[in-house]
Each structure stands twice: as structure tokens, then as C-alpha cells.
């Protein structure tokens, strides 16, 4: 970063954020562009996004980025004007350029060397140059032939002293020249520049000597200077016939550039035009670039990571609510101090008002943290395109439910597991077109993303219509890896769950996309770390569906308080199916399998919480206590508790912060009376409960319960 201006640097975080947004727009729009090549609106959006990045980068002195983006912008401009046709390879090029800019922006603290840009820069210029030809050459065939032949010219351009007074701007001509090809080097001729006290700002005293690599002929170059040629010295000469090979490579350029470039560096081009504004698009560019810092102060100047943009009206509403809460509070105080007979009634009313306000406030504060899942889904089309192309598969992506909102913290953390699942779906799930045709399917595979709310959870599905999971093969692999023994009896569902086991892959060969067998276990771990769960549902030959279930937020939980002995525990409400006091005939004790409770024909393992947690002062007679049936991923167990206390929303506090993870608990909370309550981890209780009931051997699902 060349700018030392602290005022500007303060907004650097904003720039980073905005650049990221613009880059995302670019990427998305480029993918759309492939489908709808002529869409003017898309092209406008693309151009504006590139333009904003350019402006921002220039403001912060990130010259390599702004220059590169300028070239990107030129090409987009050409696209917009219909001078260049949208092709798959062009979109590829643009996408790669977007990636490069993204890398450069995210790592702008240590700028990339300009050489990192050269290759793509050249490619961009070539794409642009190829198109410039089209209008001037009526026959497409010679145009194409000519387009491939790039030649270097030396252009020496010394405008006359009076060009400004004639209303001409030399920079305009240089810019037009730049549009014809790649300017490989620029040298500034300031031999006519006099002493400062003799300087006349209205006189042009500078000259340029540059090397242009272009597919255009010499005549076309001369044409560029038509209006100014009379009053200028102009030399245009082919530089090097040999270097005009069709392949362009960074290394080839460096010698040529070095030879033609004296001390002056490239960025000089825009500077030596005092008082004259560059014409056309770049005028908009600089105006926008200057405006940027001015519009930024409204937003919080923050670190590149960890800031939220919040709509002003949301903040206003919060302010209102807080104001009301303060009034509420003084009402409570007044009512509590009052001696009048109706004080109690007033107090109750004030408290209930306060309750409502508090809940409202909580919801609104939480909604600030909620962002639509499209933030994650938006990255997927690109992924699908790239992965499918790399694997030679034809895949179409269908997305729904992208407006589903999720806690911001979750969004950030769910992105990687999602990426992995999508890659997997394309790599392992969807077959090649030939295989698909052989299997009687359409050659084009489908990957479907879905997000929706279900009973307080957010469900995200990644579904493909590919070949599904071959449970026999998984089983064989698992046995070979020693994960299970040959005698282990497992249901289809359980075998499918094995794909989450570390070291197991179903891919026949390891590709660079996936198949190393690391990953699915990481996916599962990452999702579990978010209090979520992932399940798999696959049908051989029909496809696979991965279902991620996540809590709405990491911080708050709807819970049912239950008492065991003298301790209060909280059960997540979403996991509770029902609670009952079983009659004696509903209870069974099976040798070696522990206790079962029979509910509507289902025999469910029963876990005595007091036994599991070694609580001595609890009810041990099932007839005196209550059994709460809880469910996790379609497995149910009964938990024996003393009594139900009631439902409440609790704020989840970590046990690990000051203590450590405790088996069977997912956290703690502060209850209404100020005491610590412990939140039960239904998932681990079910796991241990079910395996305990079966003698430690895997688990069964509800559908396949034993009798």
C-alpha cells in the first residue's frame, strides 16, 4: 500500500468489504452471462462492479489492482458495446481475472508482484484486441487470421505545445491507443520541461515513447492520432517482427519491455495531463473514486473481518425499544415502591410489558445477526461450473430457499462443509454423461440446493441425482479398513452413515477434487461443532441427499426445564417428542439391553438420567417420575426425570470457556433464579443410550426397532 494517509486507511476495511461484494457480483453475473449473453442489464452490472473495484483500489494506492481492473473493465466495456462476443473461454478468462483480483485484494497488505498479473493482463488485452478488429474488417475470416498476429510497435508521440489550447487532450489519444492492444512500456519524455518558475500550465511540454503490442496494422495506429498529428511529432514503427508469435507469455515480454523502458515507470500515463480531465468512462471513474471516502463515514470503519452492515431503520427500531425498556423499568420501580392497594396489579402489568419488550428486543437484536443463506449459495454456481468442467461432467444446479435466514456466525462456518458436499455430489454422485445415458438417465446431472426452516432448525439439503451410495462397497471398505468387523450387522442407514467415518472414501480413484477420504468426517465434525447435524439419505442409482440441520442461532435455545434430584436441566425443545408417565406394563427390562419403554408399539431404550449422571437424591421409581421422549435424527429414547418445570428461552453459555466439555451436556445457562442450569446434549445421550441398550454395538433406527 503506497498511501500513508491515515484518514484514508481508516476506510480500508470498508474498501475490502465492498471489493469483496463487487467481486462476488462479478462472479455471479459472469455465470449468468454465460446463460444470457446479450443481457444488457447484466453487462451494466458487471461493468459497474469492475469499475467500483478499480476506483477503490486506486484510492488506496493499490495500483497493480486498479490497473489490472482497468483492463478488465475495458474488456467488459467492449462486451457491453457488442464488440466482443460472449464465449465460454471468455467467461473463463473473466472468472480467472476475478479470482486474481480477489486474491490481490484479500492479500493487499503484501502486494503481489506485477508479474503475477501479466499473463492474464495479456490475455485480456488479446481478447479485447481480437474484437476491436471485427467492426473494421468486414470479412470475418481475414479478421480472425489477423487477430492472431500480434506485433509490437514503437510509438513516439510528442504533442505540440499548443494542443491544450486547441482543446485536445493527449491522454485521450494514448487511451485510445491502449485500447488497440497492450501497452508494454511507457517512457515519459520530459526534455521540454523547463524550470518550475517558467512553467505554463496551458502548454503541453511532455512527450511519450511507448511500445504497443497489437494485432492492428500501422495504419490503424496512425488513424488514432489523426486529429492531433498535425500539431505533433509522431513516429510509429514496427519494433520487432520476430516477437510477434501468437503465444503470449510473461517471460517473453520482460526483455522487450526492459529494453524500451528507461527509468520512468508505467503509471505515468495519467499524470502528466494537468488540469485536463480524462474523457469518457474514466471521468466517471475518478469521480466515483473520489466520492468513495466521502460516502464511507456513515459506515463503521472496521477491520476487514467481523463487521456487520445494519440498515439504519433497524437501529432506529432498536433505539425505540431500548427507550421503551427504560420507561418500563422506571414503571416497575415506581410500582414496587408504591404503597397503594393496586400496586401489585400495576407491578404485574409493568413486568409483563417489560417481558414483551425484552423479547421483542431480543428478537430484533438476533435479526441483526441473521443473514440470508444466499450468501453461501451464491458461491456454489461457480464451484459447480468449475468442478463439473474439471471432471468432464454435465451438471446443472438448482437452488431454492436462498432467502432462508441464518445466524451470521453460522453462515461463515457452514460455507466450507457446503463446498465439500457440493464437490462430493459432483465428483462421487453425478455420473459422466455416458454412464448416465447407459443408466437410462438424461445426460445432464442435477445438483440441488435447498434451504428451509423446520421446527426451529434450518435445514440445508445438498441433493444429486447421481449413482447413489453403494452400501455393499462401503461395507466392504469399512471392513477392509477395520472400522467394522465382518460380523457386524448394520442397516442400510447405518452403513450410509459410515461415509462420515475418517479414512473412508467411496471414490474408485483419488482425484484432485475429492476421494482422499478426509473430508466427510471433517464436514461432520464442523457441523456438529455448530450444534448441528448432518445425515445422509441415498438410493443406489437414484441419487444422494445430504441433509444439514443447524440451529437458528448459536446463542439462544428454546428449552424445557426438567428437574433431576435437586438439579435443573434444560432439554432443547426441538428434540422433545412427548413426555409421559409410563404404566408398569409399558416398561421392560431386557437382559443385557437395559430398560425399554414401549410407546405406541415402539420399544425405545430408556435412560435414567439419575443413573447416567450419578445423582443420588432423584426419583428412582419410574412410576413417580416422568419419561421424556427425545428424538435425534429419527432415533428416539426415553429419559427418566423427576418432573417437568416449564418452558423457557435460555442463553447458551459454554462450559468449555472456564471448565471443559462434559459428556452428555452441550452447555450451561443461567436460570431465572440466577442459578446455573445445565443443557442436555440429546445427541450424545441418544448415542450412549442406544448403544448401551444394544450392548455397545452401533445403533438402530426407530423404523427397525426390535421386539
Amino acid at each position: 500500500m503506497s498511501s500513508n494517509d491515515m484518514d484514508v486507511m481508516e476506510f480500508f476495511g470498508v474498501f475490502m468489504e465492498e471489493a469483496d461484494e463487487h467481486l462476488t457480483t462479478l462472479e455471479q453475473m459472469l455465470l449468468h452471462l454465460e446463460q444470457r449473453p446479450g443481457d444488457r442489464e447484466l453487462l451494466d452490472l458487471l461493468f459497474r462492479a469492475a469499475h467500483s473495484i478499480k476506483g477503490g483500489a486506486a484510492t488506496f494506492g493499490l495500483l497493480t489492482i486498479s490497473e489490472f481492473t482497468h483492463k478488465l473493465e475495458s474488456l467488459l466495456d467492449a462486451l457491453r458495446d457488442g464488440r466482443v462476443q460472449v464465449t465460454a473461454s471468455l467467461v473463463d478468462l473473466l472468472l480467472r481475472s476475478t479470482d486474481l483480483v480477489r486474491r490481490a485484494v484479500s492479500d493487499s497488505a503484501n502486494p503481489m508482484p506485477p508479474s503475477a498479473f501479466v499473463q492474464l493482463e495479456t490475455a485480456l488485452a488479446a481478447a479485447l484486441a481480437a474484437s476491436e478488429l471485427a467492426p473494421s474488417a468486414p470479412a470475418p475470416a481475414p479478421a480472425a487470421a489477423e487477430a492472431e498476429e500480434l506485433r509490437s510497435y514503437r510509438v513516439e508521440f510528442v504533442p505540440g505545445r499548443d494542443v491544450f489550447r486547441e482543446g485536445l487532450d493527449p491522454v485521450m489519444f494514448l487511451r485510445e491507443l491502449a485500447g488497440l492492444g497492450t501497452i508494454e512500456s511507457v517512457a515519459l519524455d520530459r526534455s521540454r520541461l523547463g524550470a518550475l518558475d517558467q512553467m505554463d500550465p496551458d502548454s503541453c511540454v511532455l512527450g511519450w515513447s511507448l511500445v504497443l503490442r497489437t494485432s492492428q496494422g500501422e495504419d490503424r495506429l496512425r488513424e488514432t492520432f489523426e486529429f492531433i498529428a498535425d500539431s505533433s511529432q509522431l513516429v510509429i514503427a514496427p519494433l520487432d517482427e520476430v516477437a510477434a508469435a501468437p503465444t503470449v507469455d510473461a517471460d517473453e515480454h520482460e526483455p522487450a519491455a526492459a529494453e524500451a523502458t528507461p527509468a520512468e515507470a508505467v503509471p505515468a500515463i495519467a499524470e502528466p495531463a494537468p488540469g485536463s480531465h480524462p474523457a469518457g468512462t474514466s471521468a466517471v471513474g475518478s469521480a466515483k473514486g473520489e466520492k468513495r471516502p466521502a460516502e464511507a463515514p456513515g459506515k463503521a470503519a472496521a477491520e476487514p473481518a467481523g463487521s456487520i452492515r445494519v440498515a439504519v431503520d433497524k437501529v432506529d427500531k432498536l433505539m425505540n425499544l431500548v427507550g421503551e425498556l427504560v420507561i418500563n423499568q422506571s414503571m416497575v420501580v415506581q410500582a414496587a415502591q408504591s404503597q397503594s392497594p393496586d400496586a401489585m396489579a400495576r407491578l404485574m402489568r409493568a413486568v409483563s410489558d417489560m417481558e414483551r419488550n425484552t423479547r421483542d428486543l431480543q428478537e430484533r437484536v438476533m435479526s441483526i445477526r441473521m443473514v440470508p443463506i444466499s450468501n453461501v449459495f451464491n458461491r456454489v454456481p461457480r464451484l459447480v461450473r468449475d468442478v463439473a468442467a474439471a471432471l468432464g461432467k454435465d451438471v446443472v444446479l438448482e437452488v431454492s430457499g436462498q432467502e432462508t435466514e441464518l445466524d451470521r456466525g453460522l453462515i461463515e462456518k457452514i460455507s466450507d462443509p457446503m463446498t465439500h458436499l457440493v464437490r462430493n455430489a459432483i465428483d462421487h454422485g453425478v455420473e459422466t454423461p455416458e454412464q448416465r445415458i447407459a443408466a437410462g438417465k438424461s445426460p445432464r446431472g442435477t445438483v440441488r440446493l435447498d434451504a428451509y426452516h423446520q421446527s426451529g432448525n434450518v435445514i440445508i439439503e445438498v441433493r444429486d441425482d447421481g449413482k447413489g451410495i453403494d452400501t455393499e462397497r462401503i461395507r466392504a471398505k469399512a471392513i477392509a479398513r477395520g472400522l467394522i468387523s465382518e460380523k457386524t450387522e448394520m442397516s442400510q442407514t447405518d452403513i450410509q452413515q459410515l461415509v462420515f467415518a475418517p479414512g473412508l472414501t467411496t471414490a474408485e480413484k483419488v482425484t484432485d477434487v475429492s476421494g482422499r477420504g478426509v473430508g466427510m468426517d471433517v464436514v461432520k465434525r464442523n457441523i456438529q461443532a455448530l450444534n448441528g447435524a448432518v445425515s445422509i439419505d441415498s438410493q443406489l442409482g437414484r441419487g444422494t441427499c445430504f441433509r444439514i440441520s443447524l440451529p437458528l442461532t448459536l446463542a439462544i435455545l428454546d428449552g424445557l426445564c426438567v428437574r433431576v434430584g435437586s438439579t435443573t436441566y434444560v432439554l432443547p425443545l426441538t428434540s422433545i417428542v412427548e413426555s409421559l408417565r409410563p404404566r408398569p406394563e409399558q416398561l421392560r427390562r431386557v437382559l443385557g439391553r437395559g430398560e425399554l419403554v414401549v410407546v405406541r408399539g415402539l420399544s425405545l431404550p430408556m435412560v435414567r438420567l439419575h443413573e447416567r449422571f450419578h445423582i443420588s437424591d432423584a426419583v428412582t421409581d419410574v412410576g413417580q417420575g416422568l419419561v421424556v421422549i427425545v428424538e435425534y435424527q429419527s432415533r428416539q429414547i426415553g429419559l427418566l426425570v423427576d418432573e417437568l418445570i416449564g418452558q423457557s428461552q435460555v442463553v447458551i453459555k459454554s462450559l468449555e470457556t472456564n471448565y471443559r466439555k462434559v459428556d452428555g451436556l452441550m452447555g450451561a445457562t443461567i436460570l431465572g433464579d440466577g442459578q446455573v442450569g445445565l443443557i442436555l446434549d440429546v445427541q450424545s445421550l441418544i448415542r450412549s443410550g442406544v448403544s448401551g441398550a444394544e450392548g455397545g454395538n452401533g445403533a438402530r433406527t426407530r423404523e427397525e426397532h426390535w421386539t
Binding site: 470457556t657 472456564n658 471448565y659 471443559r660 452428555g664 445457562t669 443461567i670
Partner: protein, 169 residues
Amino acid sequence: MTASVSPAMAGAKGAAQDRQYLSFVLSSEEYAVDILRVHEIRGYSAVTPIPNAPAQVRGMMNLRGTVIPVIDLRARFGMEGAENTKFSVIIVVSVGARVLGMVVDAVSDVFDLTAQAFEPPPELGGAVDTSFMTGIAKLGERLIVLLDIDRAVGVEDLSTLGEPSAASA
């Protein structure tokens, strides 16, 4: 102090001196911790027991919205359990990044440790674990054990608290 003091011991001694210590009583013995590690002293209030926790973890308490574990130092040092009295207090200390409470019988006072009063941990042979002591302070007739709080209720210790060997320590 003595010629046999090892360099490491001398370092520990240097670190242990010229500081203020908070002394407290555990089963009629006096102990002390570096006062800079003490956040606050609270009256004993009910804690929520943790399932399957070792004996020295009494449970969790609410420290103004933060859930912290409460360690029973008597159990930690293998002393006879005692009923809580009205003098029982919880000393809230920081150990590494964690905050936790220690139940003690009573707090006594805050004293300055001088070089003259400091003695290195006694050699009691392998049978007695002195690793959680940094030394002994001699204040007149009183002998006060200076606790190395990181070792006494340390992080590594907490992470192994669930294991039987640590639980019976």
C-alpha cells in the same frame, strides 16, 4: 537462603517474593495465593453440580453471567470434607485464560512476603506431592503454604479431572 538452592528454585523464589499474598484457611492449615491472581472473594452460594465430575469439582456457579467451575480445595488436597460454615467463601481466581472459584474455609488476611520470610518447599520425599507449592512463608509463629495456583487448580489439571487417578488425588 541455603547453598543447596538450585537455579530453578532461586527463580521461583525470586518470583514468589516481594508480592502481596492472600492467605486463607483450609482445615486449620493456612495457605496463600498471589493476590494478583485473585479476582474477587464471594460468600458461598449454592453451586450446580456437574454430572460425573470428580470430587474436587463442586459444580458450576454464575459469576455475573459467566459460568465458572468451583473447585473444592479440601477435596483437591485430599482433606476431610467439611460442612460449609458461614465463613466459607469462594475465591475467584484466574488460571491461564480460565476463571474459576475455589471454596475455602475462611480468608485470613493479605500480607507482604519478604525475602526473610520465604522458604523453599520442604523436601518431604516422594510420598508427598509438593508440586503445587512455590514455598512456605514464615510469619512469626504462622507457617503459610504458598500455592502455585496453576498447578493446584491448573488447566492441565482440569482437563484430566475426570480421570480416576486425578479424582482420587
